[in-house]
């Protein structure tokens, strides 16, 4: 019996079995626990547990700040991706490696480093004190951390798309007398819109669940600067497993719904383009 079509290659059954067993043990069974445990509270109990004011405030903060950080990363990421693809300059290879820094740097390291940087006595924090801006230990600090960790997602999503942009379209527009600004606004940006949306989604998804880089700089004040993942940790410390699982499940489902909507929007754009 052969389930797999094509190819006279051997080894489908054993490799498939290893993959399935490993996937089940490490990913599927644990996630099943997340899906099932909240209901110990009953449907009403789950609803109460995820609509507590402190939980709602934390969810709003996590999703709101992640969306804002992702939105800020879109123009910054576009600029960096554009320059990296279209220009050759001294130190470009180094710059290319630097873009991945937030992905390679452990989040706890990023967290304490950003805190040191933006604390009132830190290199950047000290500059902001006279302006009356407090970043560390406020929601603004969360935003800074999420901009840091989200940037590579926007840049790396955009780069291959910019690389594949047909130069002919820009050349044709120029022959027809369009100015460079017009070409960018009318031809380049519309073509990049789906990719910009995808980059926004990737950065948002990362930001919503982010923990390590945020908790040091956030100040973690309930109702004000307490992110949803931290609330999960607090509930676990109180041995409220079902409550922690309920919050985790809501976060995961909300992220998936948002990504799904962005995906649909992206497809519509590509169809209409």
């Amino acid at each position: 019996m052969r389930i797999a079509q094509r190819s006279a290659l051997p080894g489908f059954a054993p490799s498939f079995a290893v993959t399935l067993v490993w996937l089940s043990l490490i990913v599927l069974i644990p996630l099943a626990a997340l899906a099932l445990r909240p209901w110990e509270l009953g449907v009403l109990g789950v609803w109460r547990s995820v609509t507590e004011p402190r939980v709602v405030a934390a969810l709003r903060l996590s999703f709101g700040t992640a969306a804002l950080a992702a939105a800020i990363n879109v123009p910054i990421g576009l600029l960096i991706a554009w320059v990296m693809v279209r220009y050759r300059f001294y130190g470009r290879n180094l710059a290319d490696s630097l873009i991945d820094m937030p992905l390679a740097l452990p989040t706890a390291v990023a967290g304490i480093s950003l805190t040191a940087l933006f604390a009132p006595k830190g290199w950047i924090g000290a500059l902001l004190v006279p302006l009356g801006i407090k970043v560390a230990y406020t929601p603004l600090g969360i935003l800074v951390a999420l901009i840091f960790v989200g940037l590579p997602f926007v840049v790396r999503t955009l780069e291959p798309i910019i690389m594949d942009l047909p130069l002919e379209a820009e050349e044709v527009a120029a022959t027809l007398g369009a100015r460079r600004a017009q070409i960018v606004a009318r031809i380049v940006l519309p073509a990049l819109l789906p990719a910009l949306l995808a980059g926004f989604g990737a950065a948002l998804a990362r930001g919503v669940g982010e923990y390590g880089s945020v908790i040091f700089i956030a100040g973690n004040m309930p109702m004000i600067s307490e992110i949803a993942p931290l609330l999960i940790v607090i509930r676990l410390e109180q041995l409220d497993y079902a409550g922690a699982a309920a919050l985790g499940l809501v976060m995961l489902l909300a992220s998936f719904v948002i990504l799904l909507l962005l995906n649909l929007l992206q497809r519509r754009m590509i169809v209409h383009a």
């Binding site: 094509r6 190819s7 290659l9 080894g11 489908f12 490799s15 498939f16 290893v18 993959t19 490993w22 996937l23 490490i26 990913v27 599927l28 644990p30 626990a33 997340l34 600029l79 960096i80 320059v83 220009y87 290879n93 710059a95 290319d96 490696s97 630097l98 991945d100 820094m101 390679a104 740097l105 452990p106 989040t107 706890a108 967290g111 304490i112 480093s113 940087l117 830190g122 840091f148 997602f153 130069l167 820009e170 120029a174 460079r180 669940g209 982010e210 923990y211 390590g212 040091f216 993942p229 931290l230 999960i232 940790v233 676990l236 497993y241 922690a244 699982a245 985790g248 995961l252 998936f256």
Partner: protein, 278 residues
Amino acid sequence: MNRRATQESPAARVALVTLTILLLLILLLLPLVVVFSEALMRGFGAMVDSLAETDSIAAIRLTMIVAAVTVPLNAVCGVAAAWCIGRFRFPGRGLLVTLIELPFSVSPVISGLVWVLLFGANGWLGPILNRAGMHIIFAVPGLILATTFVTFPFVARTLIPLMEHQGAAEEEAALTLGASGWQTFWRVTLPNIRWGLLYGVLLCNARAMGEFGAVAVVSGHIRGQTMTMPLQVEALFNDYDWVGAFTIAGLLSLLALATLAVKASLEWRIGQRSEALL
């Protein structure tokens, strides 16, 4: 027209490049510089002293142990997954790829939470195992499980596109010439994918050693026993031992820098960037 229509004016180009470099330096390089500057705040001697603390040494050793167990397991299973997905067509193949990538879209805290739900004091299996004298949560096995979950997709996700791109022609030729399945794998497949495999292992290892959220949930923060390096960074930072915290953070930063350097040279070798983001 004296310049190409696909370029900005020279002045705009200089401005864009300058702005990009400034942004990269301030947003991405400055946090790294701060780590080393804070670690060296009280001089080189203070930094070395803080590294010699027994808890710091225990944290470094535990991080190595966790990575040494996690990375090979995920590498072997990643190769198996890449073999069945990259070389065969079967129903549910797309779903399998999605499930393998699932851990990438799960918050680190949730990646730790799921193990507590299974093995914690109030978990499904926790009480039974505890009675048998087996402790998983607040112990090393929990750290390993949480880290394995988080780093699960790296190797498979790097190898699947690579193997699809290479195609099966060479393997089919080897088989036609009479090689056995294992011979074909060891002599043809593995040499072909070795740089990609190394790439996946590199990213997997970096994440395994640097993971914070998932292990923070399952660790229990027992000093000298269940603290990996990132957790030790947190503990020292919260104790206001900045030199100590930033010294271990500095070690982790060196690991990150080494990872990026090797990654760049591997990308040059395989001629493409992997889709697997850390």
